[in-house]
């Protein structure tokens, strides 16, 4: 490849805006649970602070709009990190006895990234939401 073409190509790659987490990014992560079904954005809400105090423990809340009845409920919620060494952070199994599809926890995040929650509903549909967070390193090295 000639140098000019290479540089032009590289410049284009950097110029592209960072798109919202597209289907093709999410599918490999959630493939095991989604089993080829379409992942739809909506119903799920992932809440993370904009800036983490410390990546070792970040509060997260995941809520899914659902009446949580026997006929219509959330079966499970699957949490994915795009940057952690282990992409599938946790899976939560609910059901109509939950009453409310809401989970609060504290997660570890290896750097600034997007966290995605995929909910599997009782009707076999899959819904997701993504939240972004900036995680900085601690100001001082601590080897205590």
């Amino acid at each position: 490849m000639r140098r000019r073409e290479f540089l032009a190509g590289a410049a284009c790659a950097f110029a592209l805006p960072r798109a919202a987490l597209a289907q093709q990014d999410l599918v490999p992560l959630a493939a095991k649970v989604a089993e080829g079904a379409t992942l739809r954005k909506g119903k799920v809400k992932v809440e993370l602070p904009q800036l983490a105090d410390n990546g070792n423990s970040v509060p997260i809340r995941i809520t899914v709009e659902s009446p949580m009845t026997a006929a219509d409920h959330v079966k499970s919620i699957h949490l994915y990190s795009e940057r952690n060494p282990v992409a599938n952070m946790a899976n939560f199994y609910l059901g109509p006895r939950a009453g409310k599809a809401e989970i609060n926890s504290r997660v570890r995040l290896a750097g600034s990234q997007r966290v995605t929650a995929v909910a599997k509903l009782s009707d076999g549909s899959f819904w997701y939401d993504t939240a972004s967070i900036v995680v900085t390193l601690s100001a001082c090295l601590d080897e205590s």
């Binding site: 800036l51 410390n54 423990s57 900085t136 390193l137 001082c140 090295l141 601590d142």
Partner: protein, 259 residues
């Protein structure tokens, strides 16, 4: 100048002279929690989810467990910690009357174990010592720090102040450089605190566990690329006394939650 004016001027001058001894005046003291974000502040205040409470609970169990040759527990002498330990942590470090030596709360717990219970001292930073220290200090929550620097403590206070002002490490910084001269300013994405000791032992997210004040001092030394002194070094004790004097009046918050 009139006599009243001269008197007022003399009082103002002497007040100013006293104020100069303290880099941060008493009315400007801020706990580390004043530099926390909303999440960590609410986590510290959460009576269920504050992770430090896991150690406080363990301390509560250990309080009533007999240990050592005399088969006594802390409770055997001190009974209900909620009342007997109230205000105790706020007075430490202090001189142990029997040995004449300066002792931190951790050191005092080990002295008691040895003398009264015939029990082995607990290792620094061990789960058990952290638990009992956190449990004892928890009953001083809200009590203003009031450590004495009078009498035999004075020599330790002076050594502690010297240690606080000593430049160390590859970065050639003293505690005063960050915590007296630059508190409130940013260091990368963090705001420098005043370096107050009132929430220790504290659950530090960086450690992912509860840790003592001594560990926090070691962490600072590590941060300025200075050699970390071994646990139990007299220099830490002297520094802890200086820090307690410097924090006079700040209420204890143990177990604190910090970054």
């Amino acid at each position: 100048m009139s006599r009243a004016g001269a008197l007022v001027a003399a009082v103002l001058v002497s007040c100013a002279a006293l104020a100069q001894e303290r880099a941060i005046p008493l009315d400007q003291l801020k706990s580390g929690s004043a530099f926390l974000g909303a999440d960590l502040l609410s986590l510290q205040k959460d009576e269920f989810a504050n992770p430090g409470l896991l150690w406080v609970e363990r301390g509560e169990k250990l309080w009533s467990e007999p240990a050592g040759k005399k088969n006594l527990s802390c409770a055997s002498c001190h009974e209900d910690a909620k009342s007997s330990m109230r205000g105790v942590a706020a007075r430490y470090p202090r001189i142990d009357a029997e040995s004449g030596k300066l002792a931190s709360l951790e050191g005092r717990i080990n002295l008691c174990r040895g003398r009264r219970m015939g029990a082995e001292p607990l290792r620094y930073e061990s789960e058990d010592l952290l638990a009992i220290t956190a449990y004892v200090a928890r009953w001083s929550r809200g009590v203003p720090i009031a450590a004495s620097i009078a009498g035999p403590a004075r020599v330790h206070f002076d050594a502690g102040e010297a240690a606080y002002r000593l430049r160390r490490g590859q970065m050639n910084l003293s505690c005063a450089h960050c915590h007296d001269a630059n508190w409130g300013k940013r260091l990368l994405s963090e705001t420098i605190s005043q370096g107050q000791p009132n929430a220790y032992p504290a659950y530090r997210l960086e450690w992912q566990t509860l840790g003592s004040l001594e560990r926090r001092l070691r962490a600072c030394l590590s941060g300025i690329r200075a050699e970390m002194l071994p646990y139990g070094s007299p220099e830490y004790l002297d520094l802890e006394l200086y820090l307690a004097w410097r924090a006079q009046g700040l209420p204890i918050e143990t177990p604190g939650v910090r970054r």
